[in-house]
């Protein structure tokens, strides 16, 4: 079970898209996991053959639990598949004789992210025998029952209560995807952690984006509506390019130190109708062509709002962009999504009297803000980073 966010402790496997014997290649979607953020499609990070499914449907397991066993091509050739340990089984180091080289264990498939601290939810849920039997008799999934007994144990009365009010929770659970209450809980945890742990500093920069608007207008004139570029794509691209140049804003602060990321995966804050927010990643936003970036943005927004995000998208943004331009707000200061170290905010593009070449004229202006982690960078670097974003937006044809 990959960690799909710093605050995730467990996930529920709701769909397997592969079966033992299937060949998979890196990046294939193999399963769907339900988390507080909705249904997440799990991609595989190894190429090979699915050997064994280890976690059944509708099972909630802690982060780090192996979901399936894969025979990689290398293993297949070496015939060592049987010796492969379950990916995340705690490795018991065998003391080798000092003179002998340490035996090379078949490397387990890398987890999408290094596992976080051992999840507290790893312990088996406590269920009294009477409660278990009652639940079985009525086909109640114990994962949907809240325990009120000692140490949160599920007792008979809890299952009875669940039987009495079976509709609300069950129905909500059944629709794969969005549980807005759970999402709110997840946002609350992440944002509280951010404000508690990250010393934010904030900068604002006003940028003339007239050139961008004009360039977009000329590009879009000949295109059908669904092929048009939006200024949001330019904003994301400019942040991605600036982040590549200023690595202090692109990466993760973990275990007391900053780990810059070579890849730039820009998280895009997407509001969900009815409440809730997710910031899945546009991978390699600094490299893909602008048209593809735009297409991916549309796809991402659509999928996020319908509650299907892929595991890599939710787990690996290296910097986030948030924009409230559509909502009419001129300036916004974002809260960093841990363990990232920066978030760039765009307000609404407004027409302002602006001095250009000594003359006052109407120009399109946008406020760009930076909230950054002071443990990693300072205002000076932040100012250069913001200025770089502004400069990039002046030359849209180069984006």
């Amino acid at each position: 079970m990959p960690s799909l966010g710093a605050d995730m402790e467990a996930g529920k496997l709701v769909e397997w898209l592969v079966k033992p014997g299937d060949r998979v290649k890196r990046g294939d979607i193999v399963a769907v996991v339900e988390t507080q953020k909705g249904a997440i499609e799990i991609e595989i990070f190894e190429t090979g053959r699915i050997e064994q499914i280890l976690v059944g449907l509708n099972t909630e397991v802690p982060v780090g639990t192996p979901l399936a066993r894969i025979q990689t091509e290398l293993e297949a050739m070496a015939g060592t598949a049987a010796a492969a340990p379950p990916p995340s089984a705690p490795a018991v180091p065998v003391a080798a004789p000092p003179s002998m080289p340490a035996p090379v264990a078949p490397s387990p498939p890398p987890a999408p992210l290094p596992p976080l601290a051992a999840p507290a939810a790893a312990a088996r849920a406590r269920v009294s025998p009477a409660a278990r039997r009652l639940a079985e008799a009525h086909a109640i999934d114990l994962a949907t029952v809240t325990g009120s007994g000692p140490a949160g144990a599920i007792v008979y009365a809890d299952v009875e209560r669940r039987l009495g009010a079976p509709v609300a929770r069950a129905e909500k659970k059944r629709a794969p995807g969005l549980d807005l209450d759970a999402m709110r809980t997840a946002i609350a945890a992440a944002m509280a952690r951010s404000k508690r742990e990250i010393p934010h500093y904030y900068l604002e920069h006003q940028v003339d984006v007239t050139a961008s608007e004009q360039w977009l207008a000329s590009i879009n004139a000949a295109r059908p509506p669904d092929g048009r570029l939006l200024i949001g794509a330019l904003m994301i691209r400019s942040v991605a390019l600036a982040a590549r140049r200023f690595p202090a804003f692109n990466g993760f602060y973990r275990d007391g130190k900053f780990e810059p990321s070579r890849a730039v995966h820009v998280g895009v804050a997407i509001a969900i109708r009815g409440g809730g927010l997710a910031a899945p990643a546009l991978h390699d936003a600094d490299h893909i062509p602008l048209d593809e970036l735009m297409a991916r943005m549309r796809d991402l927004v659509q999928r996020t709002r319908s509650g299907r995000i892929r595991s890599s998208e939710i787990s690996d943004p290296t910097i986030t962009v948030t924009s409230l331009g559509e909502r009419g707000v001129e300036t916004l200061y974002g809260i960093i999504y841990p363990p990232q170290v920066a978030i760039a905010g765009f307000g609404r593009v407004v027409t302002r009297p602006w001095v250009v070449d000594g003359a006052i004229g109407p120009r399109s202006v946008v406020s760009i803000t930076l909230s950054a982690d002071h443990r990693v960078s300072d205002g000076h670097a932040g100012a250069l980073f913001l200025a770089e974003i502004g400069r990039l937006l002046q030359e849209p044809d180069k984006l």
Binding site: S128, P129, S148, G149, P150, A153, V155
Partner: protein
């Protein structure tokens, strides 16, 4: 089921007097019955149970014995095998250990070892329990040990009805029966119907019906447990109280029926905790009613120390009402 605890036309009687009535009744009913033990005759029994019986029935049937538990218990076994119906009184369960060889190696085994040619229709009565400041050598509760032995029956009358009725039923049994009388009960008074007589000894009794938890006990702890149930009722916990009455054999059906309904159990046993009767009962519940349980089974037992002399220490060493209440609440997750 035993007779109802309260009925019209009752008289008030102490447990001690009810026991004496039972012996007198048996002596009248069957001239093979006789009582023997230390000080049962002229002194009237160390707890006064047999007071007056020597004058009424004579030295042939109320026999004082030397201080030799093994000797007169063995004599009782011989008399029983020879056709008599002896009642042997041992002053306390502590002293009964001197007769343990006779009880375990002879009385309990003769039917088996004789290929069913001989039985031992013997009744042994003894006092058990703490609470009278008689110190360690007079105060232990070892009935659980006897309940371990195949070949005998072990009874623990807790009410005046059972004190009055169990003896005759025991005398009808073709095999040895041990009756344990808790020393704290002798002075307790209860109401007894005029026609009170033999009682069934095969079944446990539900002394207080309830739906939230089963409190399983016997003998002297029954009354503390009923008191605890009243305290729990004040906190909206409806406790069922089961009086085992027979410690061997145990009435599994009554226990399991109750636990299946309440889904929780606490066993109150004045014996020491380790290897106790409560351990046996708890294990049987797990074996037979595991899937009915909603909480770990609880136990309230005696502290694993020789019972102290000092009153406050003695009280602290044996089960008391607050401990029973606390254990019941813990089982309900209401600490």
């Amino acid at each position: 089921m035993p007779p109802q605890m309260t009925q019209p036309a009752t008289t008030e009687i102490t447990y001690r007097d009810a026991m004496r009535e039972a012996i007198r009744d048996a002596l009248h009913r069957d001239d093979r019955v006789f009582l023997m033990g230390e000080d049962v005759g002229r002194y009237g029994g160390c707890y006064g149970v047999s007071k007056g019986l020597l004058a009424e029935f004579g030295a042939e049937r109320i026999r004082d014995t030397p201080l030799s538990e093994s000797g007169f218990t063995g004599a009782g076994i011989g008399a029983a095998m020879a056709g008599m119906r002896p009642i042997v009184e041992l002053m306390t369960v502590n002293f009964s250990l001197l007769a343990l060889d006779q009880i375990l190696n002879t009385a309990a085994t003769v039917r088996h070892m004789s290929g069913n040619q001989f039985g031992v229709p013997l009744v042994i009565r003894m006092a058990t329990g703490a609470g009278r400041q008689l110190a360690a050598q007079h105060s232990h509760s070892l009935e659980g040990w006897y309940a371990h032995i195949p070949g005998i029956k072990v009874l623990a009358p807790a009410t005046v009805e059972d004190a009055r009725g169990m003896l005759w039923t025991a005398l009808q049994d073709p095999d040895p029966v041990l009756i344990f009388e808790n020393v704290m009960l002798y002075g307790m008074a209860g109401r007894l119907t005029a026609d009170a007589g033999p009682v069934d000894i095969a079944r446990a009794a539900v002394r207080r019906p309830g739906r939230d938890i089963s409190l399983i006990t016997y003998g002297g702890s029954l009354w503390k447990t009923l008191e605890a149930a009243a305290v729990l009722a004040g906190e909206n916990i409806d406790a069922e109280v089961i009086d085992l009455r027979s410690l061997r054999p145990l009435d599994d059906a009554t226990i399991m029926t109750s636990v299946a309904r309440t889904r929780r159990a606490v066993i109150i046993d004045e014996g020491w905790r380790s290897g106790s009767l409560s351990a046996e009962i708890g294990m049987r519940i797990v074996e037979q009613a595991f899937w009915e349980l909603d909480a770990p089974i609880g136990r309230v037992c005696s502290a694993e120390v020789p019972i102290p002399y000092a009153r406050h220490l003695e009280n602290a060493a044996i089960p008391q009402v607050p401990g029973i209440v606390a254990a019941a609440k813990a089982a309900l997750g209401r600490v």
